[in-house]
Symmetry: C2
């Protein structure tokens, strides 16, 4: 028998289990001498609290789950970083889940998180198909905060960055630089952020009478960007600028273009999205649309705890941040 329980501790200390529990949870309510004896017993037996039993009694766990599209994307790790301190100081634990942009994985994870009765959930859903399940979580008293997702659409709190506006900023920047035909790279199109960024871009390009080709990448990562460039370069008339749905795609695009001897920014400009740290450190430092990453995480966690604290009387809040353009070498040439 390697694991000892409260009962064992109680026995060795010559007290009741209730007292052991008190030593652990309300030390001020137990006499010095007794406390000493109990602590000694705990040390001697190497007793460790059983969280399952605790949770069973409490009805909830202490973990706050964050479900992201891609843990390997620095954007998301920065969001997680932003949320962590708050959760920590509230005595919680952060659990990171990677849905990998895969609806089925996401489903499975949500199921498990629900079974675990997590304290709350921050999530960037893959697409709209999880809406139902998320509402169900809320109905089961598990607050959900949507991260980086269009506001107001769902009965949850949310933090988001105005992606349509971000798309506009990118396109406006390229138009100002004199480009007449733009390529948009991103996908899959089921991801709302991708659609929104594209929408903003389209808005500006149409208004300015500039051509817009879209290339759907399989995934929002480096490989996706590289592959999309292959397609693009097969066009009879290759666009002189690409706007990528995120920086990983942009880095992939940069690699693809360089590999084919296309000079960036002279022959083709690039604008990315997120402004992850690596964007500035790229072969050609990337112009990008900056999002307040850590702030997103921090605010999301804050909203979550607010909702928990307010309980039933809570009204959802939807916080929207504005993105900003960071111009670097990858768009440094006038056409």
């Amino acid at each position: 028998m390697t694991t000892s329980s409260m009962k064992d501790v109680a026995r060795t200390a010559g007290v009741s289990v209730g007292t052991v529990s008190n030593v652990l949870n309300r030390p001020e309510a137990v006499a010095e001498e007794t406390k000493r004896r109990v602590l000694a017993a705990i040390a001697k037996l190497g007793y460790v609290r059983n969280d399952s039993a605790r949770q069973l009694r409490a009805g909830r766990s202490r973990s706050v789950a964050i479900v992201v599209l891609d843990v390997a994307n620095p954007f998301f790790t920065d969001v997680v970083r932003g949320a962590e301190p708050l959760v920590d100081s509230a005595g919680g634990v952060v659990t990171v889940c990677d849905s990998g942009e895969d609806v089925r994985r996401e489903q499975r994870q949500l199921e498990i998180l629900e079974e675990q009765r997590v304290l709350g959930l921050l999530i960037t859903p893959v697409d709209d198909s999880s809406a139902e399940r998320l509402e169900r979580l809320t109905a089961h008293d598990i607050p959900v905060v949507l991260v980086d997702r269009g506001a107001g659409l769902h009965p949850h709190c949310s933090v988001a960055v105005d992606d349509v506006h971000g798309g506009r900023l990118a396109a406006r920047h390229l138009v100002d630089r004199g480009h007449h035909s733009i390529a948009f790279i991103g996908g899959p199109m089921s991801i709302p952020q991708v659609r929104d960024r594209l929408a903003g871009c389209r808005e500006v390009s149409e208004e300015a009478g500039v051509g817009l080709e879209t290339f759907t990448s399989v995934s929002l990562n480096v490989a996706g960007g590289r592959e999309a460039i292959e397609q693009m370069l097969r066009l009879p008339q290759v666009p002189t600028a690409v706007f990528c749905a995120n920086d990983l795609v942009a880095l992939g695009a940069l690699q693809g273009l360089t590999m084919h001897g296309v000079k960036v920014p002279e022959e083709c400009a690039i604008v990315g999205y997120d402004d992850i740290d690596f964007a500035a450190a790229a072969a050609v430092p990337l112009s990008s649309i900056r999002q307040p990453r850590a702030q997103l995480g921090r605010t999301a966690a804050q909203l979550l705890f607010d909702e928990i604290a307010e309980g039933k009387g809570h009204t959802h809040r939807n916080v929207v941040f504005q993105p900003e353009l960071v111009a670097r070498a990858s768009t440094a040439v006038e056409m």
Copy 2:
């Protein structure tokens, strides 16, 4: 009352809780008709299993924890990625914990994980101070696999890459390129990987009669690299090459050097470590020491499940991979 239990399901289906449990866990043992009724009740009530209760009974949870030094470091996310499929297919769940190179945080997380009775633990410990606690976990039947850590030192399974050899490879490469004085950047020195990589580097530099200055960075990230370069550039005689303890530090070093107008690789060469994807995409593509990142994760998970399966009769295995040099532009000049 928003959450229903087995008892509720049993009542609505007109059966006993034992039967409900059977429907869920051994469906073949219950009659079709009954099963239908129970499933209907489950659907109607929106019943969700309570994992805490399950675990309490089972004595273990289903989660495999991975404790890493820095989630924002692509090296670690790749390791996690490698481990995930295996854990998944074994019906487990991955929990990622970020110790942030902070011993106290690590301690706290280990405590929590022990309380949670996790299935097992993959960990890159911050330093040796957790050895005791880790042994205690093993004693409590929680298998521990050390990731990216010197083999044989501890009573656990481990997967590692030969860091001393990696350091040698880097130094050898720089010596071959004709450098006469090398700077090592990395830290804190309490991290064993840092010490080993430095040791390998020192070995070769001494053997070759080449100068070696070491700069201790506060942390193994971009900022750490940038700051170390500030120090280095104050030297009367600035080294012509730097070997960085990982790629993030190397990227920081690259930024620092560029900011001060030092040309890479003409005036100063750089070798990184890990060969993360971003290394190849950097402003000056980085030479680096490649580690089999995903393989590390995969093997670690495999060892863990082996240990669980073998039980008491298990003997620890220590798998060591060999790193390899990937030469790119950042060392492309002969001195």
